[in-house]
């Protein structure tokens, strides 16, 4: 589904990604871990098409297409979803209205009829259950005055509404207490299927207790320095990142 080859990206003069290689297939869950500043969030942003980052080398192929040539909205309509680490507030625009606009643009792109108000509401009610989110919250201005947990649940709710092929969760666990974490992870697990793939970007192993990955990759100084199965996450948890760092420096 996604093939990243030798990807380099920088912001301004600062090189952040220095040759990433990653292959993600349908049905897989990949965790990207690493210490702060290793480039995890940059990788997520580059895949979503954020313009602040300049790709200087390498290629990204998504469902047979050159992802790097696509605009962010085009990528989204083609099924890429990014759950933001810091969801943005849009005053005066309710989540409902926001999602209605988004879902219908995606549907039109897929050659489907836009949903009318009634069917949209039905879909929404169904997806709300996944993350235990209240309709009153969805009627409020998007993310404005939401608690940390509400914002993250709202991200997963949007993911459920848009039914992406490839979802990227950027530090979705940050700022969540254990109950909120369970709700969010539970929502994500219900969305797992053999047809879609998920990339979980996280600093801590904690989230991976609930969203169990097929592969774990450790990012350090802009490169994937170690890959393995879910046990790798546990190893990182007990040993910290220092051994990875020294291993990488030696190499």
């Amino acid at each position: 589904m996604l093939t990243i080859r030798n990807l380099y990206a920088r912001v301004g003069d600062k090189e952040i990604l220095k040759g990433i290689d990653l292959e993600v297939k349908a049905g897989e869950v990949h965790a990207i871990m690493g210490p702060n500043g290793s480039g995890k969030s940059t990788l997520a942003a580059v895949l979503a098409g954020r313009e602040d980052f300049e790709v200087t080398d390498g290629s990204v192929e998504y469902l047979g297409k050159n992802l790097l040539e696509m605009e962010p909205d085009e990528r989204a309509r083609e099924g890429i979803f990014l759950a933001f680490q810091y969801p943005v507030e849009i005053p005066g625009v309710s989540t409902i209205n926001f999602m209605k606009t988004a879902v219908n643009q995606v549907r039109i792109h897929r050659g489907q009829e836009p949903l009318d108000a009634v069917s949209f509401l039905q879909l929404m009610k169904e997806k709300m259950k996944l993350v235990d989110i209240d309709q009153a919250l969805l009627s409020r201005s998007l993310n404005e005055g939401f608690s940390g947990g509400e914002k993250k649940r709202n991200e997963i709710f949007q993911m459920a509404m848009l039914e992406p092929r490839l979802a990227i969760l950027d530090e979705t666990d940050s700022g969540l207490d254990i109950d909120a974490l369970k709700i969010v992870a539970n929502g994500v697990n219900k969305l797992r299927s053999k047809d879609n793939a998920i990339i979980v970007v996280t600093h801590y192993q904690r989230l991976l207790n609930y969203i169990v990955p097929d592969f774990v990759h450790v990012l350090y100084k802009g490169r994937i320095v170690k890959s393995g199965g879910k046990e790798l996450a546990l190893e990182l948890e007990s040993k910290g990142y220092d051994w990875i760092k020294s291993e990488a420096e030696v190499a």
Partner: protein, 481 residues
């Protein structure tokens, strides 16, 4: 950020939609302004002597006045002798019914989406259509008359209801008020008149639609609304003009007289031609709008969506004279390219327990300048007066400006005045967030801007709100990119 500005540029540079002209045979006065021109206008309209005298008096006052230059706008000097002060479509003296109206005129308004044919209008809005200086047609007159509501062109009101016109003309905006009000008083051509009798709730929206068509003409219409005790009316005003290279002057006056327990809601969607992307052409919009809450418990709400005009100079105001009266001002002003807007309100608290609320949302894009100017004046006897003001500015791109000039004068220490102001930039983050959900750039900007202006748009009558939302998006088209 550069990218963000490009998006904004792209979204805000859409062409003006109503820029066409209609081929209508016109009759007009020669260029320039003097007492003879005023006599000409008055004679054309077969006005009574008192009104001619009133005009001449205003003209003499105007001649002594200086054009105000305190607004935060710049423009070359206006040559008042180079303007045509009267232009009217040639048609039979005054059509008795719609059947007598020149079909070309009806088509002109059809093109604007305003059908003057009553059976076609299902929306429950009565319209007075004003082309250049003259009222073309007023719909639903008979139906309204059954309730005692008078809704007609100003000229007709002068003929049919001289006592009402004479009593209230200039009672809210005196001819001495300001330079443009004095000019309007001297040369006003037509406009709408509306009287709602005691205890009557007007069952439909009343609306005036202004269209400038002729070149080199100024448009000086006058609207007078009188709401008798316990009455209610919701009034809408819309306007467009063709695209022309030269600037055209529009100096209107709106007076609203509100008696005890009456409530008037006045909504404007102003979409005069704003000039092209380089700032060539466009309407100079110098307008005086004021409401007098004369009686106890009276109420006035102004709602305006200002998207057009090269220059907007406009401060719809409320004189809160009656005890317990209240005034509201909700405004969205969008400027793009080289547009300049200096707009706001004045709330003058005279009576006891008077309340006012100001919500102003400015949106600047391109190289435009957008200023809020407002005054809250609480007089000595206005015990327990209250005001709340909120002035927000939204910037799109980095070449435009947003300014706020709030004046607060309080002479009574039992009053409470609150003022809040914010300035924000439309965020790259917000646009990216929308796009990441599959929403294209233009829709994203429209969504964000409409969200920002929501509190004001919510005040508009339903059918206007939809139009206003589209207009906001249209005005800003090309400002992102």
């Amino acid at each position: 950020m550069a990218k963000d500005n490009d998006i904004l540029d792209e979204i805000t540079s859409k062409e003006y939609e109503h820029g066409w002209t209609a081929n209508i045979e016109m009759e007009s006065a020669p260029k320039g302004l003097n007492e003879d021109i005023i006599r000409f206008i008055s004679a054309k309209k077969q006005e009574p002597e008192w009104l001619l005298e009133w005009r001449l008096k205003a003209y003499r006052i105007w001649k002594e006045m200086k054009e105000p230059r305190w607004a935060n706008v710049t423009y070359p000097e206006i040559n008042y002798q180079d303007i045509i002060y009267y232009a009217a479509p040639k048609q039979k003296a005054s059509p008795k019914s719609l059947d007598e109206v020149d079909p070309e005129l009806l088509r002109t308004f059809e093109r604007l989406g305003i059908s003057l044919t009553e059976q076609k209008r299902l929306t429950g809005v009565a319209v007075d259509a004003v082309l250049d200086s003259v009222s073309v047609a007023t719909t639903f007159k008979e139906k309204l008359a059954e309730l005692g509501i008078i809704f007609c062109s100003f000229s007709e009101a002068v003929r049919e209801h001289p006592e009402l016109v004479r009593k209230y003309l200039g009672s809210v905006v005196p001819m001495t008020d300001n330079y443009f009000a004095a000019l309007n008083s001297a040369v006003f051509s037509d406009g709408s008149f509306c009287y709602i009798p005691k205890g009557v709730r007007c069952p439909m929206e009343l609306s005036t639609y202004f269209r400038i068509n002729a070149a080199n003409t100024g448009q000086f219409e006058r609207t007078l609304i009188v709401a008798d005790e316990g009455s209610y009316v919701s009034y809408l005003e819309g306007c467009t003009a063709p695209m022309r290279d030269e600037h055209q002057l529009h100096a209107a006056v709106v007076e609203i007289y509100v008696m005890k327990d009456a409530h008037v809601k006045y909504s404007t969607v102003q979409n005069w031609y704003p000039g092209d992307k380089e700032g060539k052409g466009g309407i100079y919009n110098f307008v005086t709008k004021r409401a007098l809450c004369a009686g106890e418990n009276s109420k006035v709400s102004w709602t305006q969506v200002e998207t057009g005009s090269a220059i907007t100079w406009k401060y719809p105001s409320c004189i809160l004279k009656g005890d317990n009266s209240s005034g509201e001002f909700y405004s969205v002003a969008v400027t793009n390219n080289y547009q300049q807007a200096d707009t706001g309100t004045k709330m003058v608290h005279i009576g006891k327990n008077t309340r006012s609320r100001i919500v102003s949302k400015g949106i600047s894009a391109g190289r435009s300048q957008n200023s809020y100017r407002g005054q809250v004046h609480i007089l000595k006897r206005a015990t327990n007066a209250r005001n709340f003001s909120q002035c927000d500015s939204l910037l799109m791109g980095d070449k435009c400006g947003a300014h706020t000039f709030p004046y607060i004068d309080v002479e009574n220490n039992t009053s409470r005045v609150e003022h809040e102001a914010t300035t924000s930039k439309i965020g790259e983050d917000q646009i990216f967030y929308c796009m990441q959900r599959g929403i294209d750039e233009e829709s994203a900007v429209a969504l964000i801007v409409n969200g920002y202006a929501k509190e004001v748009l919510n005040q508009l009558p339903m059918e206007f709100a939809v139009e206003a939302q589209k207009l906001l998006a249209l005005t800003l088209e090309g400002s992102v990119g």
